[in-house]
Symmetry: C2
Subunit: 301 residues, 2 copies
């Protein structure tokens, strides 16, 4: 286990213009670990309830995901999110959120997890993210994610998480909101001042940007004509990104760029089906193929 991923394990009921999935496997730790599993040995910390299907445990095991840190809470049901997408599918609209066992989730790290060199702190309550950080023993790289809810309700706690992270992964509207500025590049530079070495801005279908102290890199998304469901794309991106870094253990600018490309490729597969149906069943050659494609569509002289 060289990559710890902390976040939700969930059931998602999703409707898009291209279909519907009922109680499909989802959540940050799921999407992130499945994606990372092609490059690293991820372990997850999260919680599921008494309704969690054995076949989903098996799916994660089959991908080599360490489940020692996955708590099973028999007192309730698994976190269930229900929502839909319309039009260009850039924004999920929530119908219902049932936190269930996730409401009282306390991330407790098994001893073997505390020395993990790479940590992906998925989007959970910032106070819990800080508790995870307190349990870790000097990881090489901490990647954190968050969401608009915590920016609005817990900005101080969230800032503490940002200050302790090496890479902050956030989307364009969130970074604008957190930094209270309409210019993305200004906002990203403000975030960098908190101490992270890199800030990643996710732009959905427009790709992703990577800001460093004196560096900038931008990568488009792959052009897809068959996007079915964007749920989990951000977590899949983050999992591929940090998984690739955990594999190479190189943290220079080009390694970050390559990791960004890897995350982009993994996200491109994620959105082409519901849940992690596609990302759980890839061959290494599928990933290589799209990395080559991504290189071709960004090359010029």
């Amino acid at each position: 286990m060289n990559l710890l991923i902390v976040g939700s394990v969930a059931y998602d009921t999703v409707e898009t213009p291209f279909g519907k999935a009922e109680k499909a496997l989802g959540g940050t730790a799921t999407f992130g670990s499945v994606s990372a599993s092609y490059f690293a040995k991820p372990g997850i910390v999260g919680v599921v309830g008494n309704d969690f299907d054995r076949k989903h445990i098996n799916l994660l095991k089959k991908r080599g995901v360490d489940l020692e840190g996955l708590q099973v809470d028999p007192s309730g049901k698994t976190f269930h999110w229900s929502g839909y997408y319309e039009g260009d599918m850039n924004q999920a609209i929530t119908r219902d959120t049932q936190l269930n066992v996730f409401e009282s989730f306390q991330p407790t790290l098994p001893e073997s997890y505390r020395k993990a060199p790479f940590l992906f702190l998925g989007n959970i309550l910032p106070g819990l993210q800080l508790e995870v950080l307190d349990q870790m023993k000097d990881p090489e790289l901490i990647l954190c994610d968050s969401m608009n809810l915590w920016i609005e309700t817990q900005p101080k706690e969230l800032e503490k998480v940002f200050r302790r992270s090496d890479v902050i992964c956030i989307n364009d509207s969130e970074v604008r909101q957190f930094c209270n500025t309409s210019t993305i590049s200004k906002a990203a530079k403000e975030l960098l001042k908190l101490g992270a070495t890199r800030v990643i801005i996710k732009l959905g279908g427009y790709g992703v940007q990577l800001y460093g102290k004196d560096t900038f890199f931008a990568l488009p998304a792959l052009p897809l004509s068959n996007v079915k469901d964007p749920t989990g794309a951000g977590d899949t991106f983050a999992g591929g990104f940090i998984g690739r870094l955990a594999k190479s253990r190189t943290l220079n600018e080009n390694a970050f760029r390559r990791a960004l490309a890897t995350g982009t490729v993994m996200a491109s597969y994620c959105v082409q089906d519901f849940s992690c149906r596609k990302t759980a069943n890839l061959k290494p050659s599928d990933i290589e193929k799209r990395l080559t494609e991504l290189k071709q569509i960004t090359r010029w002289s």
Copy 2:
């Protein structure tokens, strides 16, 4: 004269969170020809009124723009657009449009213009764009632009323009609207079916995409923390793009990509000040510098 640009020559009164410009020089033919002038010998076809300032004629002349096709209509005033931008400045909000002499504009091409090998058909009434095409003698490359107004009110006429163009330049919301689909790549491919060899989708601050029959290329915008006024960015982009092609007279994929980069660089200068204050006063080394920067921020291996 190796590049004909047809479009408005206007006065713009613009307000943004970063300042205001009163009756500043604007319009497609202006932004486009100033930008193209660094690479090609543009000539413009347009109309101005009795209030058009001599100093603006001189500005265009100084940039080497051929003005034989610029009509001066003494019966009225120059086209005047007034608008403002808020927040992330992605969308102009119109306060007032006074077409003035532009209302009865009839594009008549001087004999010497008709053999121009490159044509940028700026956004005017599709019927007028067709009249321009009828006057041209077999140009090597026709680039056309349009806007939501004509997509809504003149879709059939506009389709005729698209069918006769080699490169269609359009923004993301317009292409979605014209093709009635929410997926940009689907829409771009539908446009290609009309006969153009390339479709360019402008994504504002997110960059630009280039679709060919079997090719795709995406380029981010340069990260700017001091965007003052986006007015004219699209026309400046188009002018730089076709100017660069007119210079090289090479029309393969890499030439298109390089032209896209050139347009991107020109647009990056445009938005950093009102009107064409910045783009009218560049040194070739300024352009080279940003092309190098653009290369650096898009390179990975």
